[in-house]
């Protein structure tokens, strides 16, 4: 039995349709309404069921969310970590490998071959990086890297470098700062050698062939 809720009257007249449902009007009070089920119409048993379905739905939503976003983060954040024992070669001069390495623990010794033998260029310590020239320029390795003691390295592949910059923008800053420092340092050494009247061959020995070549290429010829 449909009744008018404000007045309680049963004598109702039909008053058109609202979204496909019959509307009624109470002649006594003029109240217009649609006979839709209200909350009071749900049984007590239905309420826990609704809550249960809501919780299950929400759990599934979170589970799918974790599956997508959580795994994505893990997948992208997981860079390859490799371990080298003392004296083991990480890469050799002339290699065509492209990886760049960040030293997580231990040390890496960089050496370069010359006609007169091998010279020690630098020792890379924890937090520093090595092999960025091959990754940025896609050229063969210009020096050899060896592990000093037990060394752990994070490997950055060419495809992951930009993603790494996006996740860790200060890494890009540090890398640029380091490269800028190296250019300034090699320029200083070069001009110092020139001032001391050392021959070009000798400068090549001091500065290193690759750095000297790149300097010559970037210097406009008269």
């Amino acid at each position: 039995m449909i009744t008018c809720k404000p007045y309680g009257s049963n004598s109702l007249v039909k008053s058109g349709f609202d979204r496909g449902m019959q509307r009624y009007r109470c002649p006594s009070c003029g109240f217009n309404f649609t006979n839709t089920p209200t909350r009071e119409d749900h049984t007590d048993a239905a309420k826990p069921l609704v809550l249960l379905l809501y919780s299950i739905g929400k759990s599934i939503y979170h589970w799918i969310g974790n599956l997508i976003s959580g795994n994505e983060n893990k997948r992208f954040a997981r860079e390859l970590v490799v371990e080298f024992s003392d004296g083991e070669k990480i890469f050799t001069e002339g290699d065509s490998t492209r990886e760049m390495y960040i030293v997580q623990s231990g040390e890496v010794q960089i050496t370069k071959r010359f006609s007169s033998g091998e010279i020690h260029l630098a020792t890379i310590t924890k937090g520093d990086f090595v092999g960025e020239m091959a990754l940025l320029e896609f050229l063969p390795r210009s020096a050899t890297a060896k592990a000093v003691g037990k060394t752990r390295l994070v490997v950055l592949q060419p495809g992951g470098l930009l993603l790494k910059f996006r996740r860790d923008p200060t890494f890009a800053f540090e890398m640029l700062q380091r490269l800028s420092h190296r250019i300034r340092h090699s320029d200083e050494r070069f001009f110092d050698a020139l001032q001391r009247g050392i021959s070009v061959d000798a400068i090549q020995q001091i500065v290193g062939v690759s750095e000297f070549t790149s300097f010559q290429e970037s210097t406009p010829k008269p």
Binding site: N73, A77, I102, Q104, R167, D168, T170, F171
Partner: protein, 252 residues
Amino acid sequence: MITQIQSGKLIVISDLHLGSPVCRTKRQIIQFLNRAANQGYELCINGDGFEVAQVAFQKLAKDVPDFLRALKVLGNNGCNVYYVVGNHDIILENFLDDWGNIKIAPFLNVISGGQRIRIEHGHLYDPFLVRYPQLYEFLTRFAGLLLRASPWLYKAWIAFQNFSSYHRTKRDQVIHGEPRNFTIAAQELAQRGFDYIIFGHTHHVNEVDLGDGKRYFNPGSSMLDRSCVEVVNGKVRLLEWDQLCVKAPKTV
């Protein structure tokens, strides 16, 4: 520009927001700095030291001189003061340089007792700031107007953040109230050779174990908690201002 330093004894505080209507601890901050100076600590202000985004310069000019005097005392004691730029004082990036005993830096890599420590404000890892920088700036300025009307809105906002992240904090190992992105960023930095990572920005104090003995700290904001991170010869710990400033007992 300085980004690499060595320090044996360093104190890191964050998010002072001097000049903000919410910042009512100026006197305590100055007292804290004076005590730190007496104990020979170097100081690092990890971003948002000055509230440049939300308040007028006149208000800032009223609040800052005493603070700068306290920094000068540190300088006179031979201690360096490092200022890492945050998002509310990002204009200071124009002054990234060595200003006597105050050194302004975008971030700091500290070597202390053979440990590598990264100190960074952390706004670069705020997902909302990165996605919508202009909207973020607009909302920051708008929030400044609201806070002038009622500083209690700030505490309501922090309470809301704590409430909304309740389930997330229980599920993931993150600092209560802050997005997971900060812990992920800290893990990223830990992976490339940092032993301790110190961020600010979120105003939520806590520390998180990142595994392999590496830890992530957030000293929070002086507007809510009086916490700082102490670095002494490679040992890093989170403590209250009072714990640092305990006076030595008088000897008879």
